[in-house]
């Protein structure tokens, strides 16, 4: 099901952990959807000096987080900002089609951490990204404020709101 690179990163994830005094933190997803990733960065001279992550999720989600941390470490903030989910999937030698949608959130989490750093240190006004909410039961896209899925009627918990 998974490529050798995915399995390698899943079995031996790089840069796992948290950074107590992180310069930036980014979190995406939630356990209701199946995947949640938290990234921490330390920035020195405009470089990502240290990066750590924690992930709740399937094999793909863990491998994605691990390779994103590897790709970003030592890069300038500008370079790291250019890492996309597509590049991550390519670096992993592909992901199963059904995993592209849900587990490939690593680059998003990294971008959020960079955004958080810029907001804190440089006072840059961030553009809030348009969020999307998917029903945990039938996967239909719903309005952010929806308390119930417009498709199947199942209740959508508050914390479900997220973009992916």
């Amino acid at each position: 099901m998974y490529s050798e690179t995915v399995m390698d990163h899943f079995k031996n994830p790089r840069n796992v952990g948290t950074i107590e005094d992180a310069d930036g933190m980014g979190e995406v997803g939630n356990p209701v959807c199946g995947d949640m990733m938290t990234f921490y960065i330390k920035v020195k001279n405009n470089l990502i000096d240290d990066i750590k992550f924690q992930t709740f999720g399937c094999g793909a989600a863990i491998a994605v987080s691990s390779i994103v941390s590897d790709m970003a470490k030592g890069k300038t903030l500008e370079e790291a900002s250019k890492i996309t989910n597509k590049m991550v999937a390519e670096a992993l030698e592909g992901l199963p089609k059904q995993k592209l949608h849900c587990s490939n959130l690593g680059a998003d989490a990294l971008q959020k951490a960079i955004q958080d750093y810029r907001q804190k240190k440089e006072g840059t006004v961030s553009r809030p990204e348009a969020k999307k909410c998917y029903c945990p039961v039938c996967d239909l896209e719903n309005p952010m404020e929806a308390g119930f899925c417009t498709g199947c009627g199942k209740e959508i918990p508050d914390e479900h709101a997220h973009g992916h």
Partner: protein, 392 residues
């Protein structure tokens, strides 16, 4: 490192005697059961013998057993066949919220075709309340379908009690007994069911053979039109080797059910009793006592099921989970959601389903292998870190 296969709800190995009995029907007796000549006659006889064995396993008459290709086909035939035959009388069908996809999606299809589908709730253990069934019945109700047991959480439903109600109200009653037949006693008379699905692959028989019990006198229409195989209810040349295998598997099940019950129960009890001492924050799913033997369904909190499965597989232990990441549809198990298990907890569900070749040593392997896997994944889980921070 020997393999520990504990995913019997997904597939079971063939019993060696079943395999042995099937082989001649691939090589020597390949005739078409509909042919008049000797080869055809031999195949026909073999099918009728198998039918008798299956009838004895579920306590029906021989001619009340109809062969199909799989449990899914049996369930489709039961729902669609009855709906089509009875639609002039009423258009209401009652199912439970924890049915297999082959009931749930068939009911959805009938709903799109203009039928009314009532989906009954279950309690926290996955039980359907017979009183709720009784209240749901209206003069328009033509069929009720409630599964005999749920393989995902192991709960056995009160089918005999529901059967009394449907018989008194004169409504047809179908039960998907695919995960029960061959493992626990199932008797169609005692249950008062009018239709019942069973599959060979769930009692050490081959894939490709299943059956639907249809009580004599129940009107039903076929899904496949063609020849007059299975008395016109299931056209298409019979899968003779698989049907022969199913017959032998049924005979073996009838003889062995008491041993199966006690062996599987032993494995289930050991795992259920010893696991909580080794892994904190577990939640057992399904009914604590009214459950399939050899079935242990448990949610490991704060981590996700597929990741656990991958690590267990690397250690030679094969199990299953109701996590969204496991299902190709990426949806959390509807069974767990119907039972009120929240989606985040369901992501961490694990299902151990034992078979006759499993041993107590296999359970020990699981008890040794799982805790470090859980610890490893919890250590990298932000959900676990947050939950622990809250607790302290």
């Amino acid at each position: 490192m020997p393999l520990v296969y504990a995913d019997h709800v997904a597939a079971m190995p063939l019993h060696p005697k079943v395999y042995e009995a099937m082989v001649p029907y691939f090589n020597d007796f390949y005739g078409n059961p509909s042919s008049i000549h000797d080869s055809g006659e031999k195949a026909r006889t073999a099918i009728e013998e198998a039918r008798g064995k299956i009838a004895r396993l579920v306590g029906s008459q021989d001619e009340e057993i109809y062969f199909t290709s799989c449990g899914t086909e049996s369930n489709n035939l039961a729902l669609k066949g009855v709906a089509l035959a009875h639609q002039t009388r009423g258009k209401e069908i009652i199912i439970s919220g924890i049915e297999h996809f082959s009931i749930m999606h068939t009911a959805n299809a009938l709903e799109r075709a203009g039928f009314n589908v009532i989906r009954l709730p279950v309690d926290q253990h996955g039980l359907v309340d017979p009183a709720v069934v009784e209240k749901a019945i209206t003069p328009q109700t033509i069929l009720i379908s409630i599964m005999h047991s749920n393989p995902e959480v192991g709960t056995i439903e009160p089918i005999a009690e529901i059967g009394k109600i449907t018989r008194a109200k004169n409504v047809l009653f179908h039960s998907d007994a695919v995960s029960s037949v061959g493992t626990i006693p199932v008797d169609v008379k005692q249950l008062n069911v009018d239709l019942l699905s069973l599959s060979a692959g769930q009692f050490y028989g081959p894939k490709g053979a299943a059956a639907l019990f249809i009580r004599k006198g129940v009107r039903i229409l076929p899904l496949l039109d063609g020849g007059i195989q299975e008395r016109g209810l299931r056209a298409g040349t019979e899968n003779v080797p698989a049907i022969v295998g199913m017959g032998v598997a049924a005979d073996l099940a009838r003889e062995e059910i008491p041993q199966r019950l006690s062996h599987l129960k032993k494995l289930q009890v050991k795992l259920t009793e010893e696991l909580p001492g080794r892994i904190p924050y577990l939640r057992f799913l399904g009914h604590p006592t009214q459950r399939l033997p050899g079935n242990v369904s448990v949610a490991v909190e704060y981590i996700e099921g597929e990741a656990m499965l991958l690590f267990m597989d690397m250690e030679g232990i094969q199990i299953s989970s109701g996590s969204a990441c496991i299902s190709r549809s990426l949806k959390v198990s509807h069974v767990m959601l119907a039972m009120g298990v929240d989606a985040a907890t369901a992501q961490g569900s694990l299902l151990f389903s034992f078979g006759m070749q499993n041993t107590l040593a296999d359970v020990d392997r699981i008890l040794e292998t799982l805790p470090p896997v859980v610890e490893r994944l919890r250590n990298i889980s932000p959900v676990y870190r947050k939950a622990m921070a809250k607790k302290t």
